[in-house]
Symmetry: D2
Subunit: 131 residues, 4 copies
């Protein structure tokens, strides 16, 4: 899996006193930097590849300011030109968020999906989720 | 439905050149202010009621800086203590986002779900989604 | 002046219970959309002109969720290729934020500052701040 | 000094292709977590102490997605109940942002400033900025 440690910020909380729910997709995307660089090693926005199609986020427990969180991102399914992620957010040994997210490998300039190459496929397979 | 017009900000775009996908949950939550005040007329964070459980967001088309967007929020289902929203984001007569979101009516101080009152139920029913 | 009405979002508050201080620059930038379109009528990121050099923000009073705010943006000084803004944020007839911000008119592709044209200068002069 | 390493996120860039200027105050506040815990060891929002009064940010160079940044935060001046920070953001050995920020030590519940204790003062003095 791709693993990312994040230190929560005051600005990511809300008046109710916890991390605001809209912070979660921001953190999840932050946990995909290694995935993005697999498809686009120079991380160039002109040649950006990974475009999000759909995400489902389940909020299992509140997340608090003052303790680091860990983002875990696995590959759940590799399609022809798309892939599905399964992601978790943990804080102090508690599972707080589960998410499923679908990306397409898009040639942004031509607005056409592209087949995921065998090289990338082999690299993705190292991060497969196993139940 | 609850309708909200939003003027996109530069800070809500990303390097690929469109509105970033993490902006969408922020806008959707912004489109729920009237819903929140139904459950909590003084909008007090101490007596906050609506806690998000799950959201599914489908990204149908890119959204651009420079044109207002419209958030449409309907009630799709009213449960005992929870409710489901169906939401759309439109830009220039194009449907760009569809979302389904489940909230629970929680007494935050006691961390207990509460039955949705008949008064609120009647008000919610004015905003029901009809296929 | 350029005037923008903003409806605060839950995600823009923080655990202390007010609008978080980092939301203010986001709102101020949101209040400059008309200014940006003066320099770049199609609001194209490829031909973006206005690059921020410096900002000073004074926090005079807390801002609360649940009441609209008004952003007021004046031109304070027009230089050869730069300009200075004076901005205020009001909520319920209370001045909550004062800011001074310097932008340069930059040709982003060549990374060179450009003289502000007479046409734009005349338009900017309609929005001058008068003590 | 207080030192914090931050990994930039796609959502923190904008259409022009760099880190958006409104991300900077968010990062700077993220770099003050250790300072906040000095005044409020449990980081409780009920007993929050540090309230921002003023910030001046100078944007010296563009910051790019794809490379970590380092936030450096020094104490520049300790007053009776207020303090001034001097902060820098570095990316790849380049100074990209300089900021000066004033906080007051506020008892939020009584809305009264409080004298900075000798214990905290001694701790702050370990992080003084020296030209």
């Amino acid at each position: 899996m791709f693993q990312t440690i994040i230190e929560p910020r005051v600005s990511e909380t809300d008046g109710v006193g916890h991390i605001n729910n809209t912070t979660i997709p921001i953190w999840l995307e932050g946990g995909r930097n290694q995935l993005f660089s697999l498809f686009n090693p120079e991380l160039s926005f002109q040649n950006w590849k990974m475009i999000i199609l759909k995400t489902t986020i389940e909020y299992k427990a509140q997340i608090y300011y003052g303790q680091n969180v860990e983002i875990r991102c696995w590959i759940k399914r590799i399609g022809n030109s798309s892939l599905e992620l399964y992601e978790e957010i943990w804080q102090k040994e508690k599972l707080t968020v589960q998410a499923n997210t679908i990306y397409v490998n898009l040639n942004v300039q031509e607005n056409k999906s592209e087949v995921i190459s065998d090289d990338i496929r082999r690299e993705l397979e190292k991060h497969m989720y196993k139940n």
